[in-house]
């Protein structure tokens, strides 16, 4: 006959403690792993826009980023941007240059495509549509959330790459061609993968989709 042994108080305490520890570890693992957990995803269908034709919706890993484009400020640049958006050219393109709380850059259609990333050349790719002239004459305040076209060291080299700033950058005015401003979704952008020691990202996040609202 097997004799039942009663657990002592301290054994019960350790048992409960281990179960609680297990639950906490399990929860923490999933909560910490899910970087998007506390990011509000905004559905553009629930918002009324003054100029819906100028609204573009970028879907990133943590949700939607809603951008208003400014064709009155940079007509040619916005036209190029819209052309690429409408042709779905930005889908599965890497956020290849990310500086924490400062700037996010994407849009290298040649070397930044998912499945075909070229880490040696990323940031230098072209769209195939040619470069356009810089439009930097009009006043534009580069405040947090502003979207501009990236360029090489020289003016008039804008193509498909764009950046979004996560802090005010007054020195960008007159340097970079503005195309719009983020209306909603800055928190989504802050969750895009960055490296603390490099501006260029190994195994970067990608644009899921980028579409015009209308």
């Amino acid at each position: 006959m097997i004799k039942k042994i009663k657990a002592s108080k301290s054994e019960k305490f350790i048992f409960v403690f281990l179960i609680l520890l297990g639950i906490t570890t399990f929860c923490t693992y999933y909560i910490v792993k899910n970087k998007c957990l506390f990011v509000k995803n905004i559905d553009p269908k629930n918002i009324t826009f003054k100029k819906p034709n100028n609204i573009a919706v970028l879907n990133a890993p943590c949700g939607n980023v809603i951008i208003e484009l400014y064709p009155n400020i940079s007509p040619n640049a916005v036209q190029r941007f819209v052309t690429l958006i409408r042709s779905n050219a930005y889908e599965n393109i890497a956020f290849h240059r990310v500086i924490e709380n400062k700037l996010i850059q994407a849009g290298d259609l040649e070397f930044g495509k998912k499945g075909n990333l070229d880490y040696g050349k990323i940031g230098t790719g072209k769209s195939g549509l040619g470069t356009i002239k810089s439009e930097i004459e009009n006043n534009f305040n580069y405040t947090k959330g502003s979207v501009g076209l990236a360029r090489t060291f020289k003016n008039d080299t804008e193509d498909s790459q764009f950046f979004i700033i996560l802090q005010d950058e007054p020195l960008f005015e007159g340097e970079y061609t503005p195309v719009g401003r983020v209306l909603y979704g800055l928190e989504v952008l802050k969750k895009i993968k960055y490296e603390r020691r490099s501006e260029y990202i190994l195994r970067p996040d990608f644009i899921n989709s980028f579409k015009m609202l209308n």
Binding site: E100, K102, L171, G174, E195, R196, R197
Partner: protein, 245 residues
């Protein structure tokens, strides 16, 4: 040695990347914003630590003290405020870097113009007597670099007497006086005689700095300078028709 390497690697490894917008724009390290909200949209920076530039790091400048900076900024700003945003855009000047004891290859200089980077580096401790005029002299160099074809040096040389020859380069002569000649004889200063480009810059800076009456008197008494002044006037009209001296 290995320990030092290891420590350095650790420092690099644990140092987070910090993007420096000013450095990204004009490729000069150790600068901070002094003033960027100006009417003509010139952005003023100052050196917070000494910096070295150039492929051979032969351009050197130090950080000025706050008091000097305060005084000289007012002077620089006052002088550069006479240029409109449009004019500055046409000559490709946007950033002013203020530092002290600016030198190239250990030769002290008032300023270093760089039209490609839209930048003018100014030594705020340069010769106090001519500091204001020299600002315009350096502005001319930015414009000259930006519009090389407009200012033809061979045409300019023809204004001088046929027996006159400029030095090989602006630093190839010891005659670099900036004091205005009482009898000009085709040149405003001793430094004007160094090179055609410096001569143009001296004429331009005097045209900006002197009163119209003084310029008119010089034009009447000195036919060579009269031609040079007309030349500069005409060429600047080509760059910006709205500009007035």
């Amino acid at each position: 040695m290995n320990l030092i390497r290891a420590i350095l690697l650790l420092i690099i490894f644990f140092t987070p990347v910090k993007a420096n917008t000013i450095y990204n724009l004009i490729k000069i390290p150790n600068l901070e914003i002094y003033e960027i909200n100006t009417k003509n949209k010139l952005k003023y920076f100052y050196a917070v630590r000494p910096f070295r530039l150039g492929t051979q790091k032969n351009i050197v400048c130090s950080n000025p003290n706050k008091k000097d900076l305060e005084i000289k900024y007012k002077i620089i700003h006052k002088n550069l405020s006479r240029y409109s945003y449009d004019y500055l855009r046409k000559i490709n000047l946007k950033y002013i870097v203020m530092c002290k004891n600016l030198s190239i290859s250990e030769l002290y200089t008032a300023g270093i113009p760089d039209n490609v980077m839209k930048t003018l580096i100014l030594d705020i401790k340069f010769n106090e007597n001519y500091f204001e005029r020299v600002i315009h002299h350096e502005v001319f160099h930015v414009m000259h670099l930006q519009h090389k074809k407009v200012f033809n040096e061979e045409d300019w040389i023809k204004f001088n007497n046929s027996n006159f020859k400029y030095a090989e380069c602006s630093t190839c002569t010891k005659n670099i006086g900036l004091e205005q000649y009482k009898e000009t004889k085709g040149f405003f200063t001793e430094y004007s005689k160094s090179t055609a480009s410096e001569d143009m810059a001296e004429v331009y800076s005097h045209m900006i700095f002197l009163k119209k009456k003084e310029i008119n008197q010089i034009r009447k008494s000195d036919p060579i300078l009269d031609n040079k002044i007309s030349y500069i006037e005409n060429k600047i009209k080509k760059i910006d028709s709205s500009f007035t001296f």
